[in-house]
Symmetry: D2
Subunit: 142 residues, 4 copies
């Protein structure tokens, strides 16, 4: 599956008094890119929730390599690097859309729960989504 | 009922590259002060929702009089100025906690809905809350 | 000048526990659409600031007509309705990109200051930008 | 030095449609607690910036252990666990203020720069702050 790289244009409200993007916003951009990735893969996160599956964040990490400023646009590459049936891991690479300089590297780990916050066996409950997540990891490995 | 004035200390993440608090954040501070006001009045907004009542915002207005910066603490005065049984209006006055200078004046208007987003007759469904809202407006008029 | 209507896709982090977009975010979307509008007009807000001009918000108003949810995309129409040489007013119309239903109507008023927060006479200091703002209002009237 | 534990009361605008606090907000709460910690230690972050020192975030990590909801108040413990003269590391423990249950564990790493974004030798430029940061780490070790 050929994925189009997600782009985000910096908004004024995302800057802070240091004159750069506030570091908390990259965590939100990870989410933007992650949901775009799932949508491109054919299974929007909205569909997750419509079908009673939520995927709360278990862990998030970000390494800030160079500052991003108002007026910049960034590319956000997304890779699903692991899926155990219960949890999945996504990695992000944010680069400047013009210079290609690395701005932020990060990852997030998620579990799969039902609406009562109980873990689900995706393979049983939703084999289509299970197979998709497996194939996304394989694609990343290849 | 004697109300304690709500205070908010400016956070770094609330500033923008102009070096001041981003104007969208005052709308959030209105909400902070409004929920504190209801809590002090004895009926927390959490209790609204626990009892199946939501109060979406119909309208919001803000006039920015002087800039607020990181390091500042503001006082937020709240007055319930109108309640029709279906809608209520709240006014806000944000002043610098040290100088007393007016920073922002604003208002918000809210309706009362059930979980299916249908208007409710508060007087019938929840006379306790109805009487409270009436008394809060009277208190403001006096 | 033909302007392309700005679109915003709702992000998960913009929702609240009511299941809808938190009302404060529309104020941020106004800013997104306003900066896109100025950029399309040939004078990006970044250029304002690079040339020492800031345009703080004096006033903002929003009327919430129908709820916007995760999964929705909205169109945001922008019109510059007034410019006095010292201040300008912008109006916004947010509609659902699919149904066309009106979601939010709003406006913001801005002044023009130099980096020391002093009002500037734009006509003298930057006649190009002055003429542009005048033409944007005329275009809106026609 | 006896430090008072920082408290944060969950705001409605911090929730998302999952009915819990959006995970990006904990990164902001880390900042709130960190600046409170420095202020209690006698050197506010505002004073850092007033004296020409900025401390951008190099890295941030968060592990989400249990969900936090509207109506909750959390305690945020802060420990400065490392300081090399050039960089420092802070760890955070967020617990429910009533039950004591662990909600989030995290850390952030920061460097020290001047206004031109160049690394500074704190020991030379500001020995008072240098000694303070050293003592905060020692206090944490003891």
């Amino acid at each position: 599956m050929e994925m189009k790289i997600y782009q985000h244009k910096v908004q004024y409200y995302e800057t802070d008094m240091m004159g750069i993007v506030h570091h908390s916003n990259y965590i939100r951009w990870f989410e933007e890119a992650r949901t775009d990735f799932l949508e491109q893969a054919g299974y929007s996160y909205k569909r997750f929730e419509d079908e009673g599956i939520i995927s709360p964040v278990l862990e998030v990490n970000a390494k800030y390599k160079s500052m991003v400023r108002y007026g910049d646009t960034v590319n956000i590459e997304v890779h699903m690097t692991a899926f155990s049936g219960l949890k999945f891991t996504i990695e992000y690479l944010i680069t400047d859309s013009v210079s290609g300089i690395i701005c932020v590297q990060g990852s997030s780990q998620h579990c799969l729960l039902d609406k009562e916050s109980k873990p689900i066996r995706l393979k049983k409950i939703n084999p289509e989504l299970y197979d998709l997540l497996v194939s996304l990891v394989e694609q990343c490995d290849s």
